[in-house]
Each structure stands twice: as C-alpha cells, then as structure tokens.
Symmetry: C2
Subunit: 352 residues, 2 copies
Amino acid sequence: MKNDSKKKATIYDLSVISGISPSTVSAVLNGTWRKRRIKESTADLIRDLAEKHQYTTNRQAQGLRSSRSGLVGLMLPVYDNRYFSSMAQTFEAHVRRHGQCPIVVSSSRDPQEERETAESLISYSIDALFVCGATDPDGVHAVCEKAGLKHINIDLPGSRTHSVISDNYTGGRILTEAIIRQFSAGDPLQPEELLLFGGRNDHASRERIRGFRDVKQEMMGADIDASIQPTGYSPNTARIAFESFYEKAGRLPRALFINSSINFEGLLRFMSAHPHENFADLVVGCYDYDPFASFLPFPVLMMRQDVEGMIAKAFELIEELPGPPQIHLIRPDLVLPRTALPGPLDSLKDID
Amino acid sequence: MKNDSKKKATIYDLSVISGISPSTVSAVLNGTWRKRRIKESTADLIRDLAEKHQYTTNRQAQGLRSSRSGLVGLMLPVYDNRYFSSMAQTFEAHVRRHGQCPIVVSSSRDPQEERETAESLISYSIDALFVCGATDPDGVHAVCEKAGLKHINIDLPGSRTHSVISDNYTGGRILTEAIIRQFSAGDPLQPEELLLFGGRNDHASRERIRGFRDVKQEMMGADIDASIQPTGYSPNTARIAFESFYEKAGRLPRALFINSSINFEGLLRFMSAHPHENFADLVVGCYDYDPFASFLPFPVLMMRQDVEGMIAKAFELIEELPGPPQIHLIRPDLVLPRTALPGPLDSLKDID
DNA sequence: CTTTATTGCACAATCGATGGTGCAATAAAT
DNA sequence: ATTTATTGCACCATCGATTGTGCAATAAAG
C-alpha cells in the first residue's frame, strides 16, 4: 500500500526494494519469465510487490523498446452518425478483447487529412490501422506501407490492400426492389418517380447506383438519366437538392433512394421547412440504418450494414496480409419500416 | 526523397547525414532551437533534411523523456448515440486544434471498467483526461489524482474535481413545461397523464426529476408518486417499463418525459410491437436531441445539450485546476418538433 | 593585443522497459 | 571427486528524444 505519492513505481523501484535486478523484474511482469528460467518463488515475490506498489508498466517505454505500442487505430470519416458510431463501438470492443487499446480518430473525408492523421498515428507506433470510409485509401496505404504498418480498408475499398466493405451492389438492388414493392399494383411506381439522392463518386455510391439502375430496368423496364442526384455526403447539399427538385416539380418524388443517413438528414431539413402533407405518400429507402429514422411518419426502408461482421472480418484479415489485395463483401440487411434493432448498447450490463 | 524503406528516420540519422549533433537536430525539430542559440542557417539545413527524409518524431521516445505524450483522453459511457458521438466529434476537433491527439474510449457505465480504463490511459502517459458521463467520477478521480493527471468531469459531476454539466434542473423544467403546453386549455394534461421514464439514481436524473416534479406542482398543482419510472440507461429496460405500463393501463400515458435518447429507443421497440393508433395523440419530451427523433409521427420535444459549450468550458477549466471543485452548469436548449439542427458535420468541407 | 562576452554547438545522462549474453551456484553424470 | 549440464539471475546495450552543462570559436570591450 506504499503510496509514493505522485510518481508511479517503475521496475527499478521494485528492483531496489526487492534486491532483484530490473531485467528480472521486467521479465516477471511481462510474462517472459519462464523463458528466462526465473524461479517461481521469485516471480511470486515480484508480483506481490508490484501489486502492493500498484505498478503499471509505462507503455511509452515499453513501446519505445519493443516498437509496438498496444494501440490499434480506427480512422473514421466522422463520428456523428449511427453507422460510424456503431463502427467505433464495435471496433473498441474487439480491440479491448485483444488486450489492446483502441484509438479512434476522424479525418473528415479529406484525403490530405487522412494521410496526416495516419502519419500522426504512426508516430505513436500504433500496431495496426483500420481505415474506414477513406476518400483516398490508397494514399493512406502509401503512408502505412512506408512505415511498415499493418492496415486494412473498411467501408470503402482501396486497390493496394485488403478491403472489407458492404455489398453495395446487392444492397442497392435489395433496397430499390423493396422500395418499388411498397407501391400497389394498382398504382405502381413509375421510373421517373423514384430518384436517388446523395453520395458522390466513390465506390460505394457507384455500386449502389448500379444496383439501383439495374433493378429499375428489370422491374420497370426503364430508367431516366436524371434519376441520380449525387450531393456528396453532407446534410446541407442534400437539402438543397431536395429543395431544387421541389421548386421545379412542385413536389417531391413519390419515392426516394437516399444514399446515407447523413443525406437523410438533408431530407429532415427540407421537411422542417415544408408542411406534413408533402410527405403523406412518400416512401424512402435509405442506405444506412438509424432506429429513429425507421419510425418516421412515412414508410422508411433501411439497409443495415453489418458492422459487426465487417469488423470481425477485418480483424481476421489484418493478421494475414500477404497475397494480392482482395475485396470482401459483407451482405447488408434490409430493415422494414418501424423496426428497432438491438445494437452494441444492448450487450452492456445496466447497473441501477 | 531518400526512401530508406521500412525504417523511419531518427534524429540520429539526420545527425549522421548532416554532421550535426543529435541534440542540435532535436532542438531544431522541436522548436527549442532559439533558446539554444542555434544558427538560423543550421536550423534551415536540418529542417530541409528532415523534410527530405520525411522525418517525424517518435512520440513514444519523446513522451518517455518528457513524460508528456500529446495524447488527450475522453472517456465516454458509450459511443452509439447522437449525444455521445457528437461529444466525441466536438472533443476531437478541440484536441486537434491544440495540436494534440485525441484518444476516445468507452467504459460502459461500469465503475470498475471506468477505473481500469483510466489506468490504462495513464499507462500511455496521456496529458489530460475528460471524464464524461462516468457512473463513479470520484473513483476515476482517485486514479487520476494518484498519477498526477489533469482531469475534469463532464455530463455527470464528481465531488473531487471541477465538473461541467448540463443544467439538468432547468432543462427538466423547460422540457416539462413545454410538454404540458402542448395540450390545449380545453383538454389539459392531468398530473397522472404525464410520466417520466428512464434514467437511474445519478445526478442528472435526479435533477431532471426534480425539475419535472416542481413544474408539475406549479402548473398542475399536483404530482403523483408513480410518475417516475427509472429504468436505467438501456433501451430494453425502458421497453419493458412501457410494456408493463401498457399492460396495466391499456394504453400509454398521454405524455412522456423520456430521460435520454437511449431510453427513447426503448419506446421505439415498444412501438414496433404496437400499431400506430397507440401513438396518435402522444406527446414526448426527450432529454437529448436526435434529428430523426424530432420528426416522428407525434410531437417530440427535445432538449439539446450544448455539447460545444460543455467541451469548450471543460477545456478552459482543465488548465486551471487549483481551487475547490466547482460545478459549471451549461444551459441546454429546447428543440421544437420537426427541427433539424446543424451539427458538427456541417463544418466539414465536402469534396465532390 | 589581451580580456571578457557572446555565439554556436557537442557531450552525455536520462526517461522505463527489453532481451542478448555471461557467469556463478547447484545438480547430474562420469 | 571431477567434469558437464542445468538453473537462476545480473549486466549492459538499446529504443529515440530531451536537456543541463561545458567548451571552443568568434566578437566586443578595454
């Protein structure tokens, strides 16, 4: 219970107190002591001492010497939506389960910031980096490569290392089909009544759009060129797109395929400026799942990306990096309107 | 452009190449060179060299020597809701602005995990810790104190160091009043028709409940004991509470004060099992803001906690720790139904 | 043309943990 | 009773950056 107030105990302190050499103390405390043929009794002695003095190893020193830090990084575009925040939550659980420390940062979808963020994490000697939703995964790859850092892409694929992503084409198809089926045979949806909003020129958007178009062709026999309204990933550009459509057409389309929950927030902004009636017979499909969105006053179909599956697969792959880069597709699930799915929070014990 | 592949350049490498001593190189690269009276020209030379060899300082070594890491920690209960994820987003922006590296971890509202998480962060020599929504802030305080680590409480107050929290009493009052005012004078809300669900026995819940009760007394002249249904912070316990109320009463209360968006998800789960009609004339007030929740098919009033304000205040206070612990209240804002507020995402530039 | 000040930098110890190597003391083999 | 093996641990260099100190070389003062 010695509380040498302020300063943390080091192996040297324990060494002096016990008369045992620092290297032996170190070996005992980091578990390599059997290999070094340390007596069981000495080990016990040191462990007791460590306990008593509340020793914890200085990870900076350890990391400096061993060039491994125990830190595992996750680079996210942003935190503030349900998809990425549950990504963070799931990631953290995995990393902690491996006895390491998660370090989550966001890089705002800016290629340069992505590279700088990676550099910055590398300067802490992180052991691995999960690159999620990067705008320029290959740029980040170059940085990691040079530093000899294990890394993997999630959500958006790169061409230089393994990627684990949502099966966007299939997801896009499923969602589009589900939207169309929301309409009765008596008054079926017409090609020009179903528009896709959001996204940009990235792999995910392109694949979703391809699925969207293919299904429209197959089910409706046609598509129109103007049915794609890429607005980037921001609420406001999406809002503006909705507004300008509304200006021209005098109403919203009967059905919307919205490319992400972030863009969906653009629709919310539009809604706040227009009365309920405009949304009475609207059907929305959104490529992302948000529990609250699922209960909006009009039917909302959502694609829930399998975050748990993606993270798990990524952890599996990151250990076996050799071989040509592959893209692993993880199938997302369609979530019907008015559905509240359990999430990472449900596994927490709740203390009252 | 020398790419000595694999290994990162160190000050020793630059020293050898330039014939200048490591200490001088170090001084130049960390900015203390003027103090050391290094010639401007030598400094330039070294900086060029550093640039050319893509030198970045090894933060582990730097941290070991200086016992400061440049890491600033944020401990969250969970990531996965809009309140905490925007906390993370805002926190990160502040930390990066100070040239440091954010490290965000969650500790599941478990006092022991909170302490262990703190210990773990301390072993990385983090420079400061923001303790957000901790179940046992004073337990975490003890750990930080012993390690001489600057820290501050957010969201839930502790008694041993400064705290920055939402003005829960006022917020509770405002929200309760707004809920009551949603009902017309012709058919006013009765005390037994307004119930509070969610929360537990923590400071925030207690204060909100106090505000809730006070306003009910003042505006309705009465309250009933059974009007408080604490369910902890989990969707499922909240769902069960709604179900069991519904079983007994045959319907939901006309108006609900829900203690957090997490508990609100419990209502969603309840809703998914019951037809629309049950919610036709429901009014909900929720102490948290979520843009999608604001557009549900019944009026939803939300209290938006001023995350930006809280984080900013916390950063201000953490620098001047001496003095008796104080609690700083940050006023939350009432958000009317069908409101989509801008968030941290809006400040990102969007590249198309 | 000395003496003193100033400039510019090199040296070396240090932060805490790790792991290769070497060397006693004890045990086993001859 | 030697020789050989094995056990148990101490020594020391090392990871990369920081910082107090010292000492030349140059400039300023006398």
